[in-house]
Amino acid sequence: MTDSVANTPHRTPFSHSGWQIWPGLLLGLGLVVLVLMGIGSLLATAGNLDFEAVFSSKYLRRVIGFTVWQASLSVVLSLLIAIPVARAMARYQRFPGRRWLLRLMELSLVLPTIVAVSGLIGVYGRQGWFTALLNEGLPGHGWSLYGLNGILLAHVFFNGPLAARIMLQALEAIPAPRMRAASQLGLSGWWLWRAVQWPALKPVLPGLAALVFTLCFTSFAIIMTLGGGPSATTLEVAIYQALRFEFDFSQAALLAIIQLLICGGLWWLVFRQRINTSLMPNRQLGYQAPLFCQVWQPWLEGALLIGFALFLVVPLLAIALRGLPVLLPLSDTPSVYPQLLSATGRSLMIAIPAGVGSVVVALLSLASANRLRGHWQGVLPTLTGYLPLIVPPLVLGTGLFILLRPSLGNSAQGWMLVSLINGLMAVPFVIQVLQGPLSGMDANTLRQADQLGIFGWYRWRWLYWPQLRQPMALALAYGTALSLGDFGVIALFGSPGQPTLPVLLYQQLGSYRVAEAAGTGLWLLLLLITVFTSLSRVSRPAAVTAPASLSQLAPEAGHA
């Protein structure tokens, strides 16, 4: 590679292969060091490490057992619901409002928990709409949201759409000739599933299951609000308890290690199989051949999609109804907009750099991981994509705090730190969005570029950028939205008086301003929708999404 660089008249910026390896490698290394420091500092303050005490404690065995149990159930349910939805979405391309349903499916992942939970309670709670309907139609039904029911319902609400979205992507990646053949053979129902769809879904399932498992495993506020009592306790709750209430640092560190081992082990299993764990939708919808189908099928699948859309929309409506009176100017209470707007400004100041940062980190890590594939060092940049999911934020935060404290001079640095951590937390999701398109660059184009001596910056600018523009917009939306809804990290470091939107919401709650908090929740929801729709406009797929070749890139580049 370096020889060919010598052929170019003057040195292309960033053309040395080190640019593709070192930044990603250093980022991965930095993250590992942070995690080790977080755990290490807890252990150092604590002194002794007593694994045996943890395992002999009935309480903790039960906590670990419950955590694994609810996460496993959530995975099974989320996938079971996602499969028929993804199949129906793949087939029913003309479903009215399909595009909005896609946006909704992206939204569920980034909704702040307290807002989503309040919506779910508004629908399924004791006074909820759904329960009221049930009382009408089916007296003595015995439905109660609180308990395992509620936990699973909420987890399916958060993760089902994510799973369906990723499966849809896999189904739409089925090569057109294969679909045409299936269509000509008149395959449908079970046979279509067996011969075409299952082989397409099989590779993404393990990674998907691991992702949903991890997200449910580390779930916290949902479990406590809807769990019904102390028997619903997850490891993350126990870590919080040990760290913030009992100041038992060794216990916290041990629990964090157990969590890392369980989730990390799972990811390692998935990773070892070398299967495609492209977890996030890349929005490159393929061409679909019409499929043979039974007369009743569109009705059935239409009904399924309507049901699923209602499942996603109704809680959002509950949030909207609750918050609307505050946001509408006709109410006689003092306007909430000055606070909302300034909090929105601060939130965006953190979220936009965090989104950009997460995209940059993800690209560097992917480049490095691709470059180092097969080398042992390749593990480091790969870790960046998984570690932030399984390290408890409290532990990560403690590590960062200890690492950066001497230089943590003023609040501006604090804001940047929050932005940095938010960015890091979003990296696993962003990587999944970018992975597919980045590695999907076809070999011919790359060879052609090699021959023409297009390297470094120009290779990126003319080859990758047009191809990655759309996925990057989606990745940016995810990174920004995840950071917008974040409460945990910012609360960890201590904000200087002025709140971001989620902090504002909690401050309003802490001061009994329940109605205003509902307004803030709705405002946050609207902001998230705006982020996704405005960025999806940038990333809307062009009519033809065939792999780009150099000749196709030229006109595109003009307005990029």
């Binding site: 609000t225 009592g229 102390p230 100041f247």
Partner: protein
């Protein structure tokens, strides 16, 4: 599109990064309900700055536990001068860090239901834990803990988890003070009435109670004051329990390694003046730590008056908490 937005956002952010002042700064670690725009924090800052010729900076941490944890991580290099927002549950642990300095004050103006003799911590407000109920859903609330425990199971209550929440721990200590060794048994009887045990007071109040999910929630006896004075509604009231109520005292302390000892001490003095305390009743929705006389809002006259006060010394709480939480867990998990 975003390539254009980012520079603009950064430019807008720049003024925030600039800071230039030469006044001495008093760094106060506190929690959100104090520092929030509607909390007493902003008004207190203004009032103190007017008299001290200094700048008050709040660092807002999520809870009393976080304040303490931050202090421990920073050790003697902490920039904090004053910590404000600890309570009787965290006091003993905070004292053990050895990072706090004795206040050296007589504190004669204090008006608490108990006698205050602590040499490190200065109270700034107090309140009783109580069950707040919705009068529209529950016209006749139970009149004692015992009545609540023996009420029919279709009466649902929302409580907070003693492992993660201050009021949650308060209820645990309340039950322990009233029932002693019988407490686990009583918890078992209560368990069928507990609709949800939330992580924090906010989760329960916002997501559940105000959504009408249950007619009763563990809160403070002062909560109705806010609803009556600000929301102008008598709908939410606290139930007065015959066994008496458990007391929470919120405190502040000076940090030993502070460079601004004199200023920090002045702030603690200021804390017990009407200029600070008048903001407590409706902004922190707690009782002021001194007698405000006529300045106490009228709605406070309409709050319940507990027959007796339950209170465990901070050292006892620190010693017994883990044991009590474990008993609670054993009682509620079968």
């Amino acid at each position: 599109m975003f390539s254009r937005v980012i520079p603009v956002a950064l430019a807008a952010a720049l003024p925030l990064f600039a800071s230039a002042n030469t006044l001495p700064e008093l760094n106060v670690y506190t929690h959100p309900s104090f520092a929030a725009e509607w909390g007493p924090g902003p008004a207190v800052k203004e009032a103190f700055e007017a008299q001290c010729d200094c700048m008050v900076n709040y660092t807002v941490l999520d809870s009393g536990g976080d304040i303490l944890q931050r202090l421990r991580l920073e050790g003697s290099s902490t920039p904090a001068d004053v910590v404000l927002g600890l309570d009787t549950a965290t006091m003993a642990t905070a004292r053990q860090t050895g990072l706090l300095a004795p206040h050296g004050k007589a504190l004669e103006q204090l008006a608490l239901p108990i006698e205050w003799t602590d040499s490190t911590f200065v109270p700034y407000d107090w309140g009783y834990f109580a069950f707040v109920y919705d009068t529209e859903q529950l016209p006749e609330p139970p009149r004692s803990l015992e009545a609540l425990i023996n009420a029919p199971d279709d009466l649902k209550i929302i409580i907070q988890d003693p492992r993660t929440s201050t009021p949650g721990l308060g209820l645990l200590l309340w039950m322990h003070s009233v029932f002693g060794d019988q407490a686990p048994e009583q918890w078992q009887k209560l368990s069928n009435k507990i609709l949800a045990t939330t992580q924090s007071w906010s989760d329960g109040y916002f997501s559940l109670f105000m959504n009408g999910e249950a007619p009763m929630i563990l809160s403070y006896s002062t909560s109705p004051a806010y609803h009556m004075a600000i929301d102008k509604t008598d709908r939410y009231q606290a139930a007065r329990f015959d066994e008496g109520h458990y007391l929470q005292v919120e405190v502040a302390a000076m940090v030993k390694t502070s460079d601004n000892q004199a200023l920090a001490s002045e702030f603690l003095d200021f804390m017990l003046t009407p200029a600070f305390q008048t903001h407590i009743p409706l902004k922190n929705v707690m009782y002021p730590a001194i007698d405000l006389g006529d300045e106490l809002p009228n709605v406070f006259d309409r709050l319940i008056q507990p027959a007796s006060t339950h209170y465990m010394a901070p050292e006892a709480v620190a010693r017994e908490r883990k044991q009590l939480v474990n008993e609670w867990l054993d009682a509620l998990i079968d």
